[in-house]
Amino acid sequence: MFRRLPDAAATLTVTVDGAPVAARAGESVAAALLAAGKLRFRDTPASGAARGPYCMMGVCFDCLVAIDGAGNRQACMVPVRDGMAIETQTGARKIER
């Protein structure tokens, strides 16, 4: 669905729900997941409906994922880092994580 523009940025690896995914330095977590074909980032606490990035600029809060153990991070606002552990979410964030 999404294709990267050709560029020379270095490739790094993150995990998404435990599986390795290639990403490019300088892109956001949301961009990396979309490029990897991941559209469903979370289910809403209210209805359980699927959600993914909508605005890609930090406004809509629809792209929330857990990053390195912290829930409800805005995937579009966090740059990827090598080795980052990203998890999609189900329902409301638990306060413990």
Binding site: P45, A46, R93, I95
Partner: protein, 370 residues
Amino acid sequence: MSEDYDIAVIGGGLVGAALAWGVAGEGRRIAVLDEGDVALRAARGNFALVWVQGKGLGLPEYAAWTARSAEAWPDFAAALGAETGIDLGYRRPGGFHLALSEAELERRAAMLQRLHNQAPPYEVRILGRAETKRMLPAIGPDVAGASFCPLDGHVDALRLFRALHAGLQRRGGRYLADRAVDTIAHRGGEFRLATKNGEVRAGKIVLAAGLGNARLAPMVGLAAPVRPQRGHILVTERLAPFLHHPMATLRQTREGGVMIGDSQEEAGFDNGVDTRVAAAMAARAVRAFPLLARANVVRIWAALRVMTRDGFPIYEQSASCPGAFVVTCHSGVTLAAVHATALAPEIAAGKLAPERGVFAAKRFDVPAAA
């Protein structure tokens, strides 16, 4: 062009809407005259507690009235919910007032003892740290104890507000937006309300305009000395349920957001947000529940309470303009049940019950000290 009603309620907030819903039906022609969207609207900014503990020191009748409303809330919520199909989310698991030091706990206990000496019609228990932690496992090390009242609960205040308006319409009442009342005249047993969008006439009127009552009441021989008192509310992202009781300053909504509230500031009519106040509230909330340090705050707002000098409501019918009533309080959520089911029928009948006498505004006319 003029419109005629049996009862016109001035103010479409929680107080006005509860009274209007309560008097509507039985063939009465009811109208609610409201301001526009920019009105100061405590009904949309409040903390949504149905709260009893600690209220009524200095006026036992207010303690009784509050407890009566809390007791009436389950039936009120069920009736309004059934009539409108709106689930108000009312829950009454009992509420806590946390003390963050031994000194705070002692002050709380002393205040409740003075209240107890007035023989309040409700139970409040002082709990030590261990018992508090058993019921609220997430408390932090600073929590010395708490007071607990089984009558305390909470509700979705926006659904309550929506349901009262929906119920009013179902009962045939009219909601008139953008009808701020400029002047009130009383002629030939009839009230004439002048608004920029035309005159409204009514046999009886209820002043439920919140802070606006201060200006309106003298037009019909009443007094409503009320002032704004600002309160901030912080709300976090939605979190899986972990707080199963409401607290005086902190509660988790049914949808999962944690609301942190209850600042009390004298800031005039400024309902802007002061981040220093918000930071102090957040810091205290984190001392109560350290896990909250991990939560993201998504919204902060401030709203204006409608306060009298003694904090108690004003309920009164005008002696010089019979049929004009003033109703004001800062607990539009807690008192919604008695406003709709007890006060509204009295207004419809044209006579407040004798026990409402203590709530008349003449209590503020204290003679100067000799």
